[in-house]
Amino acid sequence: MVDLIKKAKELIETSAVKVVIGYEEGTGNKTRALFVEKTEDADRLIFDSRCVQNLAAYITKKEIKDKGKMAIAATLPVMRSIIQLASEFQVNDSNLLVLGITPESKLVEFANLVEVETFVHQYQIEIDARNKEMLDKLEKMTQPERWKFWIDELAPCFKCYACRAACPMCYCSRCTVDFNQPQWIPVASTELGNLEWHLMRAIHLTGRCIDCDACYNACPLSIPINLLTKKMLLDAKEHFGGYQPALKGDHLMSTYKPDDKENFIQ
């Protein structure tokens, strides 16, 4: 991506930013994150359809933040993550410059996060057909069937926490599972403990997850944990009206409407 390389070089040269986060060619036909701090490294930047890792996971990482102002090559999911992170006061215009990559693989420059937000809001978060089908299949199952499905699916989880590490929204310096007073979720990988962990993860991401699938892509065992957050996303849409990350405004799960509808409270 010539435009991106040129822009990265310019930003580093003029010291507008200290580091540009983008993708480079990896091993095994994979791409991976590249941190450009010297202009000559910018030539390694690439962008193509394989670049799916959500780079926003790096912008809250201490080692990267400590470098100074960052620029980030951001696809639509990355931009959504950034807006959500900004709304949670994790990034702002003074420490982050977004180099947007449109769904048509065009570089767009944004002066500030408000412009990013405007851009992002042109697109709806859509759940792809394959996952939609899976969700439908699960909905149609009976309760014991669903229980069996999830216990079986989550049984292999060995709690490497790659899902958490890859998720831009999981930036807490101390996760609930790292607390031991009380120990909410067992440290060891157990049938119920695994379910508890993924339930907790899904609920903490409700109204925050922007459906980038980073957790699923990171899972070394390909457990479909993204179905949980997708389900939450769809439900949030159904109950509380569409969901788009926004710089200002209430967070879905930390607000309420006096007329929120439900049908199960006696």
Binding site: L138, F264, I265
Partner: protein, 149 residues
């Protein structure tokens, strides 16, 4: 074998349901004794993990109850709680947790009789359903034999 007696855990708010349950007692209304009441300052304080842990520790059913909408001692605690329950209940349902075993209700300080009704109804429904073995089976890892993989 004796009839199955369900273990029910009730998470209630201090200001309405707890007071309501108190009234049930002082009004000498008899109701099922299967329920263990845990008092919270507000329904807004009742974390999802508490419900999950109750099942883990052997509960067969759960009641969550607080002030009616607009009656919250802290103005909006129950509204916040309601929104979270909507999502949490849906997540539980999606993962195959038996949501019929989690009852949500609004019971005010004046509704002693209503509290008795809710507890009785829950107990008889859960008694009908039987123990929540599906869940308890996976919860006791330590009691299982030494296993591989």
């Amino acid at each position: 074998m004796a009839e199955f007696e369900p273990k029910i855990v009730a998470f209630v708010c201090n200001w309405c349901t707890y007071a309501g349950a108190d009234l049930t007692g002082t009004s000498r209304i008899k109701y099922a004794s299967n329920v263990r009441i845990i008092r919270f300052p507000c329904t807004g304080r009742i974390d999802y993990m508490l419900l999950i842990k109750a099942f883990d520790e052997g509960a067969d059913g759960i009641i969550v109850s607080g002030c009616h909408p607009n009656d919250c001692h802290y103005t909006s605690g129950n509204f916040h709680a309601r929104r979270r329950w909507i999502m949490f209940r849906s997540l539980c349902n999606f993962t195959g947790i038996d949501t019929e075993r989690i009852k949500f209700s609004w019971v005010s300080a004046a509704e002693g009789a209503r509290w008795a009704d809710i507890v009785n109804a829950t107990v008889s429904e859960i008694r009908e359903k039987g123990p929540y073995t599906e869940y308890h089976k996976v919860s006791r890892h330590a009691e299982k034999e030494v296993n591989h993989g």
